[in-house]
Symmetry: C2
Subunit: 301 residues, 2 copies
């Protein structure tokens, strides 16, 4: 072996070691340890992963979802370029307290959690119910909240079809997971993407969060239905958001509607809209690769 | 200098040479030589740039635009990942013949040009009037046309405000280039992006295409107005397009409307929609970096 080739192989070996070294447990949602932090009398459970520098991205979860309901393909993909924090809001999963029945209190609690972590500037990804919280935080805390991604969500007073669609989903006796019907369309391609999503979101076997029960579902359903059915005159909330917003939605969201996202795009001061084909509420999971690229590009700007 | 360091520096130098070698004239719209090819009795002028392998992307230009009216930031960015071909359709710039006054003939001529180049499969980027041609080609030639990007465009019968807006743009006495008002909004940020776009599109100084005169403008205006104002019952054309489509549009397109793109998204079988904030007809030039990333991701799938 000549010296030149040896040097190259040595370099390659060094790079491999470095790469293996960074792929620690913290870089995967499936294995990131659950941590706890107290704020406002609540013991919040959370997981951090990804880069140690850059603006942290806080993920705000959907109706009844715990940290384990996020798609690892999405969370790990975002974490390659920034710190990412997933957490359970008050009363959900391994977080203590009683689940609030209104979006205002959920926002207050999320703020207490972010403040407890000591962050001075964070970005938000709010999915569905989490998107309502993201809007309230962005409007009320322009110094703290940088960029906002609103996925599969709507605006205050935008209406909903939650009860009807939930009823249909849970009546699907052949379906092993209601998310197949709530997050994906009936097309074979979307259903296949749904099965792959559920497989990814089931990969964590150790220290999973406790599942949400009826108390959580009832409180959150009330919050969701009241918020989407309480008219916000002239969309004051949306119009008071000055941060850059990326809106992402599926072509056929049966719970919160696709048109709501078009309305948000038209009303917000500075929003980009992305609508995916043949997709329902969970379009960011169905098109996880494209979503991660789009979101990272938006957050990196 | 120790041998290890020397090897690394030698490697770095080798890479630099390789990189410099690939940055040939063919990789930049500003310097790519104009070529000619005959088809259907027309001598078409065109330029090829980018990679030599992969599905070629054919660019279809806007009302009165020549090859020099494309944004080098967009064309060169797309050419990094595929062969890109810009050309002048019949009668425009350095292409011979009489400019047709209807979209059907423009499509026939574009097809003749693509066939003359010998391609069996191409992708299309149609901007504005070029988007109409892209739709006709995609619907009629599913074997030849792979993916389609429709930017700043509309559908047959979608209506237009061309004459009104053109009149306003050309009456702006203080504006050195009507594209500042036709492609960008009145905001300082969009206008600044407009000036940068025009600067980029003016960088080519050698062998520019002849500018379009009144004959071309009259024929193309007729084609554009007739096409957008001739109703297509039940959007038959859009519904017959089966290829994946990426629709990109600005928040405030004053000529062809932003809502037209939402309608196209809803009507097409397999479309992704991207709407950019604070932007007019030329949103792909204003947000060239994000557009190039989005388009390359879409075309690479």
């Amino acid at each position: 072996m000549n010296k030149y080739l040896k040097s190259v192989l040595l370099m390659a070996a060094t790079f491999s070691i470095v790469e293996a070294g960074t792929a620690s447990a913290q870089d995967k949602l499936e294995t990131a340890p659950t941590k706890f932090i107290e704020a406002s009398g609540i013991k919040f459970s959370y997981r951090t992963l990804g880069k140690s520098t850059g603006t942290p991205l806080i993920l705000l979860q959907h109706f009844t979802g715990t940290m384990d309901y996020w798609d690892p393909a999405v969370v790990n993909g975002l974490a390659k370029e920034r710190p990412v924090i997933v957490f359970n809001n008050t009363g959900v999963g391994s977080t203590s307290g009683k689940t609030p029945d209104n979006v205002a209190q959920m926002s207050t609690d999320a703020l207490a959690f972010i403040n407890a972590l000591g962050y001075k500037k964070v970005d938000l990804l709010g999915f569905s119910l989490g998107g309502f919280i993201a809007q309230e935080l962005a409007a009320e805390h322009p110094d703290l909240i940088g960029k906002v991604i609103l996925a599969g969500t709507s605006y205050q007073g935008g209406g909903d079809h939650l009860m009807q669609v939930l009823g249909e989903a849970f009546s699907q006796k052949d379906s092993p997971d209601p998310r197949l019907w709530l997050f994906f369309t009936h097309s074979p391609e979307s259903q296949q993407a749904g099965r792959e999503f559920i497989k990814r979101a089931s990969a964590r076997t150790q220290n999973r969060d406790p599942e949400s029960g009826k108390d959580i579902a009832d409180a959150q359903a009330k919050a969701l239905i009241v918020w989407t059915n309480t008219n916000d005159p002239e969309n004051k909330l949306l119009k008071s958001i000055t941060q850059p917003v990326l809106i992402v939605q599926g072509s056929n969201d049966t719970m919160l509607g696709t048109e709501s996202s078009v309305t948000m795009f038209k009303t917000l001061k500075n929003a980009q809209l992305v609508l995916f084909p043949d997709s329902n509420h969970g379009s960011i999971f169905q098109y996880h690769d494209t979503f991660v690229k789009t979101a990272n590009d938006f957050l990196n700007q």
